[in-house]
């Protein structure tokens, strides 16, 4: 069964890029263009892992992450932002990882795989 990744980003180009990259690696990709949509999609689709942008119009990625965790405390969430300067404080945001957006997806993919593996061990 394919693993589901919910990618939340307000930038269409970024959504398209991750969609292609993840699909090619055999993930099922669900896209959300804002925080509210991400919360709804998460309820409907039950993703295995969430990739979340921080700065988005309306609710930001950190608030969205907290809402998602309220509903499912076990949900692995990767913060994937264009800001490099928040990297140090991600630990306090209860995200599982903090990545800076890059055209090189190696780190993103390996983080997703690592988080999914962890989860399967727990289960």
């Amino acid at each position: 069964m394919k693993r589901k990744v919910l990618v939340t980003d307000d930038d269409l180009g970024i959504r398209k890029f991750y969609e292609r990259e993840l699909r090619r690696r055999d993930y099922e990709v669900i896209l959300a263009s804002n925080a509210q949509e991400a919360i709804e999609k998460a309820r409907e689709e039950r993703p295995d892992v969430v990739v979340m942008d921080i700065r988005m119009p309306g609710m930001d990625g950190i608030q969205a992450m907290n809402r998602l965790l309220e509903e499912n405390n076990e949900l692995p969430i990767i913060i994937n932002s264009a800001y490099s300067s928040y990297k140090e404080s991600f630990m306090s945001w209860s995200a599982d990882a903090y990545l800076v957006k890059s055209t090189d997806t190696t780190e993103l993919i390996s983080t997703i795989e690592m988080l999914l593996e962890d989860r399967s061990v727990c289960l």
Partner: protein
Amino acid sequence: MEKVLADEIIATDILERLTRTLGLGIALASRDGAVLWANDRMHAEFPGVFTPDSEMRAALGRVTAADVLGAQAVEESVGEIGGRVLRGGSLRRSIVHDDARVYRYFSIPVARSSEHAGAELTAHCLLDVTPEKHLFDRYRSDLHQLSSMKEIISLLYESMSTPEVLNMILVSVTARQGFGFNRAFFLEASGDRLRGRLGIGPASVDEAHRIWSRLSESNSSLRETLHGVSSSGEPADAQTHALALHMDLPLTSGSNGEHGAGIVASCREGRPDLVTRSSTLPVEERKLFDMLGVDALAVVPLRIRERLAGVLLADNFITRRPIAAEDLALLKTFSGYAGVALERSALHDELTLNLQKLRRAHRDLQENQKRLLQAEKLSALGSLAASVSHEIRNPLVAIGGLARSVLEDEELAGDSREALEIIVSEVKRLERFLKETLDFAKPTVDMLTPVDLTQLVRDVVATFRDEISRTGVELEVEIPDEPVVVSSSPDLVHAALSNLVKNAHEAVGPGDRIRVALALVHPEGLAAENGNGDGLRVAELEVADTGPGISDEVRELIFEPFFTTKRDGTGIGLAITKQSIRNVGGNILFESRPPFNSVFKVQLPVTVRRMP
């Protein structure tokens, strides 16, 4: 002849009465200058001189002596007296006798007889004016001392700081043109003690002769002497000064003294005194007399308002001249002015100190302001960089990512593939720029980890080596064999070094040299204080080039945010490099050391432990 005698007797009678009322010494001389007669006073004062038939000119010559007026002056006066006597004129002239009595001389023509109206006899009169002369001399000397005092006081008021004023006071007391004591000491009242602070004057007879003859040869004014002493700074009085520093008297001593005599008693009562060595003095004071080797001391307390500031001691250690009451009186007058001068200098010292404090505070404030401004700029730079980074990164990742993705997926025509490959590589370059430059503007610090700088330098140099040699630039690398480990952020140091090498490369042309060196050094100023210097060493990364260097005007600005001289520069590279190096406890410096016109030094604290 009898008639003549009778006339003379009449004349002498009148003269005798003059003698009694005025105390005149009178001698009568004939027209040709022969002594005819002298009264008792004359005989008493100058026995055997004015005898009858002796020459008046010779007689007068015998009562004058070469003395303080000077031989020539006396001779002249005698010559003149003689001449006038012979011509029968009248004159007045002081004559100094050899026992230092002073006479006023005058001559009166005396009528010899009623038949002859002309003056044929001359009465030569000597009036003893010794007391008047003494009074006059005294007056003259007082006047001299007053003018000296006036000069001393004006000099005293020109001195500003307390050491200057103290020095002036003591020089005034010892200067020949001042009060002429041999030595002078100042003891400062501190707490309940009097402690020697300054002493001047010769330490031995030899030294005294040397100094005094030099001073008299130079014939300098008091002003010159005082300024000479205060400005030459030669330790001529080192021994006497050392003596002063040994003086220490308890202000409480002497309370059980007989009549309140002594140095401390004089200080307590605030009155100048002439203190002589005696067994009734407190033991400390007797010891002081022993140390000074004198029997008498002029003791003059100096007061600032009602408070005892200290005491002036003056002696005649060399000449052994007794200290006269007038000397003490003069010092007493002087002490009032000296006290005022001391008070003034104390205020001056305080003002100077406060002024210094104010200046320092002002400077600190200016520096803080500068730092604040720098911090503000950096913080503005930080947030600007962060938002620029964010705004660029999003579209960049989309462009580059999608291009890459398409490149992997699709069957593409050769030129389309090439175009996509170019997009991917250009985006990679932009991403690298974001990572290396803008991302380091963040104010927070990565976790510090041990970094082996030798390896890091090799890595950075490797990425630039080809590019540098292609442009005909020589690259010199100097790395120690042993690892140099600092506690830092590898990414950060990597970025900083890359930035510096890149800057150097941009500044040079073919034939130039770039030098990258790593060394362990002692930070300036610390090496000398610390014997082995372990733990105080810093790793110094140096990037130097033989390019045109940096002008002095620009030098101060190179680390300022937004300052640039490059046409397409942003002015943030060095500012960010400096900030990030500072964030990990390091420092970055610039210097010029020909032939390397630009030398950037990154200093990083060395971790004590070596890498495993």
